[in-house]
Amino acid sequence: MNDLELDVRPILRHGGEPFGAIMGAVARLAKGQRLKLYATFKPEPLFHVMASQGFKNEAIPLEDGEWMVIFAPIDGERVAAVESVESQAASPETWPDPAHYLDCAELDPPEPMVRILAQLEIMADGEVLFALLGREPIFLFPELRARGHAWAGDFDETGEAYRLMIRAGGRS
């Protein structure tokens, strides 16, 4: 099977945000197909996002500091625990791909919670937010539950970053 190629270098050079394009490409991947991504820098935050979706990565440096990254699906990847309110007990595999991304790894509490809740307020129902945090956002969960959002989260392999996917739910 051919790799799906995506070059986000033009988007990045124009100061754009390629996250939506990348997630769109991931959504088009056939089962077992790999994604070959070209970027102007090593897209490390993306590695966490893709790992949470069950992809391992291989990053290859190109000339002028640019990078090519091959994302390959891992068989039998562990699925993160899902928390949601009753009516939305759907698994995250059926969720749309994340349309928004927040890197909160370098923020001290409660700033990640502030940003995530603010972002969720401007998202449409059903849209998915991916957030990267330095620790489990313990006080955020009761608030997500109260507002009817569904979420799935876990620590990465190193235990240093917490990956959180939230699907915006109905407003309570």
Binding site: E106, P110, V114, L120, E121, F141
Partner: protein, 450 residues
């Protein structure tokens, strides 16, 4: 169901604890108890238990009801227990203090008052241990900070059981050579398990997580932290193992305590290096007042360790134990408590008031609730007063001691006023505060916070 909610009774615990601290400091300013009275006089025992149970233990319990769920990322089990425990501990403390007052004929109370107070304290702290213990048990395997709390709770159990035994002996309910010998020789064990095990060990565990969290230091489990846990636990086991020797007035008592002191000092030394590493590796350049003020507490811990070594070397431990206990209780434990309260009160109040509307309307930041430039000098004054008061105890200057305790009382009052201002949103700019109800200073919200 992951996540932790706000602990409803934590602020009530904090308020009761602060009242006990202020009363104890006022009594010392008036010349009540040591150094005016003997170190083992009933008046001194009133002071010691007002500080150890009223101030430090209530503070620690209130903090643990909030932070054990945070440490293990699970809700607290036995949610109905905190208010019951608080009532039992407060009543028990009152009965205990009345019992001590009866011993020195300050008031006329039946001799059973002491063991009755002790029983209430066993019940109250038992409820605390039950609630926290179940929560911790359900969260196994535990991360390192939570294991410190487990050891601390075990030490608390030993402390209250020894205390109740003393109370039974003092009231004449329990007799015999062994019981009497335990009362005569076992008081250091009671004090070490309480101040060193329950409070210090628990504070160490919680501090690992809190410092890393608010200074953005890496929270990797260090080998050195395991060493602190192992050495500290060994020191406490040695203290507990000394109990039979105290009962039989055996010769092994002093040796065991010396071994406990050595391993305890090792644990403190490695803990100090861990704390320095946490401050050094932090990603956040400008640290907040709570982390700055905590440095004073760590300095007091270091000073206590050095003073202990000096007193042991010069054979003056018996005569100067009051000064050592003072700097340890008020500098290290009390200082750390006041410093961390400065953050915890603002943080919990912010969560209670603003979390439900985050993202929906403009809200203040946590730091808008505090006024660090105005509060900072009072922490300096507090530590300076504790330091000078300790010096006065070392060189026998009782009047100067009372003067410096007065300064300490004044600084504590000023810090407590800052707590109140932060809790009542008085530092928040009016335009950000508009439309928000002020929370009750120390009672839980009527509606359960989600």
């Amino acid at each position: 169901m992951p996540g932790a909610s706000l602990s409803r009774w934590t602020l009530t615990y904090f308020a009761c604890a602060l009242v006990c601290l202020l009363v104890a400091e006022s009594l010392m300013v008036m010349g009540f108890g040591y150094p005016g009275a003997a170190i083992d006089a009933p008046e001194t025992l009133i002071l010691v238990h007002l500080v150890a149970i009223g101030w430090l233990s209530l503070l620690m319990c209130g903090a643990l009801f909030q932070f054990v769920p945070v440490l293990v990322a699970r809700p607290l089990l036995g949610e109905a227990l905190p208010p019951v425990a608080l009532a039992a501990i407060l009543l028990g403390l009152l009965a205990l203090l009345a019992g001590f007052a009866g011993l020195s004929d300050l008031i006329a109370v039946p001799p059973e008052m002491l063991p009755l107070g002790g029983l209430l304290l066993v019940a109250g702290f038992g409820a605390v241990m039950l609630s926290l213990g179940r929560t911790l048990w359900a969260a196994r395997p535990l991360a390192l900070p939570a294991r410190f709390v487990v050891v601390g709770l075990a030490a608390l159990l030993g402390t209250v059981l020894l205390g109740e035994t003393f109370a039974l002996v003092l009231s004449g309910r329990l007799g015999g050579d062994m019981a009497l010998s335990l009362l005569l020789n076992g008081v250091p064990l009671h004090a070490l398990l309480g101040l060193g095990g329950w409070m210090t060990f628990t504070a160490m565990g919680v501090s690992y997580r809190l410092l890393a969290m608010f200074m953005l230091a890496p929270e990797t489990e260090r080998y050195s932290t395991r060493l602190v846990l192992a050495a500290g636990t060994l020191a406490l086991v040695l203290v507990a193992a000394a109990t039979p020797f105290a009962m039989s007035a055996g010769a092994g008592l002093a040796g065991l305590l010396l071994a406990a002191a050595a391993t305890g000092l090792l644990a403190m030394g490695v803990y100090a290096s861990d704390v320095v590493a946490l401050y050094r590796q932090r990603k956040r350049r400008n640290i907040e007042l709570n982390a700055v003020a905590a440095i004073g507490a760590f300095a007091a811990l270091l000073a206590s360790a050095m003073l202990l070594v000096a007193l042991l070397a010069t054979g003056q431990l018996q005569t100067r134990i009051g000064a050592l206990t003072y700097v340890f209780a008020f500098g290290w434990l009390g200082g750390l408590g006041l410093a961390k309260l400065y953050k915890i009160i603002a943080f919990l109040t912010w969560l209670e008031c603003f979390a439900p509307v985050l993202g929906k309307r403009q809200t203040p930041r946590v730091q808008d609730l505090v006024d660090e430039p105005r509060a900072a000098p009072w922490f300096g004054a507090y530590y300076a007063a504790v330091g000078f008061a300790t010096l006065c105890l070392l060189v026998d200057l009782p009047t100067a001691f009372r003067l410096f305790v007065g300064m300490q009382l004044f600084a504590t009052l000023a810090i407590a006023r800052h707590f109140y201002r932060s809790r009542e949103l008085l530092n928040v700019p009016p335009e950000l505060r508009r439309g928000f109800a002020r929370p009750h200073p120390f009672l839980p919200p009527a509606r359960k916070v989600p």
